[in-house]
């Protein structure tokens, strides 16, 4: 098990061929996700965000690399740890923070909250808080694309813990049988909530080691390297668009914070977090770009620009009114209301 908790460079190393613009965009995205999540954490400490939250600090490369490989029209299905994936598709920070804060400017005006971020106009078809439930749902969206002859791909993000629930296996089998254009992205951050995933799973790699059961290629990658994520996902999207069916990609990563707001993550062995922070996706990406000749000033400017965006969004949310009481009874049924009887 100690081997598994060591930062890993993954097992599948794709070729590197990414445009400079794309790489700057992935850097900007990772910085945005990092800063927005840190802001969400700070707002919790200030009690301006209630309820719970599941942060993606440390897992930014998966969201950024995947989003950068997606086309407009592709669909994202996220989990309760979905802030990063939602933001990575271009949903404004203000909308996400507003939703977390229960403000009227929120993405769903406060009706969904942190665990259910949804923005159909950005292709974010929901964040699902019942573990595993959205894998079959992503299959359904992919089935529609296949049925209609559309080229969009559905991407389904889930944690290592979801690989042990029945819906995971039902979805993988269904998707593989029907060659559906869906990409399953397993973010293996080593812990299912509070328990090390290896303690409760019969195989070493909870996602990839199950792939062969569904006739799929075994893919384990370094989920802290946005380039690797981008290239691997690009290949999976091309495969899906070509009618060659689903892919299951296990991304090795690590969450810097606990499972949720309530979790100080004391179960982690001493030094583990520090080792993973040495492979922090945002800083290794910056170092790589600098080593390849991108001026530090360019990267500083990106960080400053993101800082302004997050600060402005925070101010806008703090100034926004609480969510309006008149929406309590709306949109239960398609007629806009909640009446179930005449």
């Amino acid at each position: 098990m100690t081997q598994k908790t060591r930062p890993s460079a993954g097992e599948t190393a794709p070729e590197r061929e990414i445009s400079p613009e794309k790489r700057l965009e992935m850097y900007r995205l990772q910085v945005l996700l990092r800063q927005a999540e840190q802001r969400a954490y700070d707002l919790f400490l200030e009690n301006k965000i209630k309820g719970t939250s599941h942060l993606s600090l440390g897992q930014e490369a998966v969201a950024a690399g995947t989003a950068a490989a997606m086309r407009p029209g592709d669909l994202s299905f996220c989990t309760y740890r979905g802030h990063a994936h939602t933001l990575a598709r271009g949903v404004p920070v203000e909308k996400v923070l507003g939703e977390l804060m229960g403000r009227d400017n929120g993405l769903m005006r406060g009706k969904g909250g942190s665990m259910h971020l949804t923005s159909v106009e950005h292709g974010v078809m929901g964040s699902y808080a019942i573990v595993g439930a959205h894998l079959p749902i992503a299959c359904g969206a992919a089935w529609r694309a296949q049925y209609k002859g559309d080229s969009d791909v559905s991407v389904c993000f889930f944690g290592d813990g979801a690989t042990n629930i029945g819906a995971f296996h039902e979805a993988l089998n269904f998707a593989a049988c029907r060659k559906l254009p869906v990409v399953f992205v397993c973010e293996n951050n080593l812990y299912m909530e509070y328990t090390p995933i290896t303690e409760v799973t019969a195989v070493t790699h909870p996602g990839a080691d199950r792939a062969s059961a569904y006739g799929l290629e075994r893919i384990v990658i370094d989920g802290n390297d946005a380039d690797v994520v981008y290239l691997t996902l690009s290949k999976a999207f091309a495969r899906a668009r070509a009618g060659e069916g689903p892919s299951l990609i296990e991304c090795l990563t690590y969450r810097h914070s606990g499972h949720s707001r309530a979790d100080p993550a004391k179960y982690r062995p001493p030094g583990e977090l520090d080792r993973w922070k040495e492979r922090d996706p945002v800083s290794i990406y910056r170092k790589r770009l600098e080593a390849e000749g991108v001026p530090g000033a360019t990267l500083d400017a990106i960080e400053a620009q993101v800082r302004r965006v997050v600060d402005d969004a925070t101010k806008a949310c703090e100034a926004a009114p609480s969510t309006s009481e008149d929406i309590l009874f709306t949109d239960v049924y398609a007629d806009g209301g909640c009446s179930w009887r005449n």
């Binding site: 949804t118 959205h134 559905s154 979805a171 709306t330």
Partner: protein, 326 residues
Amino acid sequence: MAQLTYREAVARGIAQEMARDENVVLLGEDVAKAGGVFKATVGLFEQFGPKRVLDTPISEQAILGAAMGAAMTGLRPIAEIMFADFLGVCYDYIANEFPKTRYMSNGQVSCPLVVRCGNGGGARFGAQHSQSVENWCMQFPGLKVVSPSSPVDVIGLLAAAVRDPDPVVFLEHKSLYAVKGEVPDGEILDTLGTARILRPGRDATILALGMMVPRSLQAAEALQAKYGISCEVIDVRSLVPLDTQCILGSVARTGRVFTVEENPRQLGWGSELVSIIADEAFYDLDGPAVRITTPNIPLPAADALEDLAIPSVDRIVGMIHRSLTA
């Protein structure tokens, strides 16, 4: 006009909707080549082909999840969960996913799909293949629940369910599949949320659903013939939305109400209806509202025991007669 069985009506209703709208698709276990274990989807695979009529693995979560994803993105899926009891293995979609997505997304996402199930007892299948699960479904804001009792209602309500923008659980009664009824030619489209008075009466209102509808009609006849008691029989048809006006109007006329429910007594659908009546029609009542139900037991398999458990015509007659003459 034609004589159709209830199971033939299911296939005809689905065919009507699939012919009307190419976004309507059907999926479920054995629904395509085999025509369904209850033979309720016979001929659809031959008529509409493998792209629109899908045999699935035994994966109820995949069936309902895939139906939901397809519905959210533009299709109009009809998903079959073979026995209604099996909703237990995919209950997350019924309880947490279908009914909540519109609300949680502040109206961004719709989930227009139909889940068809073989519901109810009488087939000697035992406790896990015989249940009446309407009360499993009617408690979730956002979900609609329909259960037809005749072939013509099967077609009309199924068409309405398919065209409805909200998720609908459509409970077909297993013991009615062989029952025949008159069905007019041409398109049939009914309205969700409408109950139907099948027999007018003066002395008492009987509220029934599914297989309890024909039994209640027989009971009403017997009560009239034996005791001169005139019962109004209402086929509730749609639990959500509920036609409260029809029900309260009838109770106001008769002054007495009986529910005839196949589900076990505890929190059966009638408890909600009786609660509404107690709240809104209390002063119309001349006596207690009485629920005639399956007792609070798992359904046994043996015919003699199952017949004792599910309300029979004799039990309905006896309870109504006793209650009205007490």
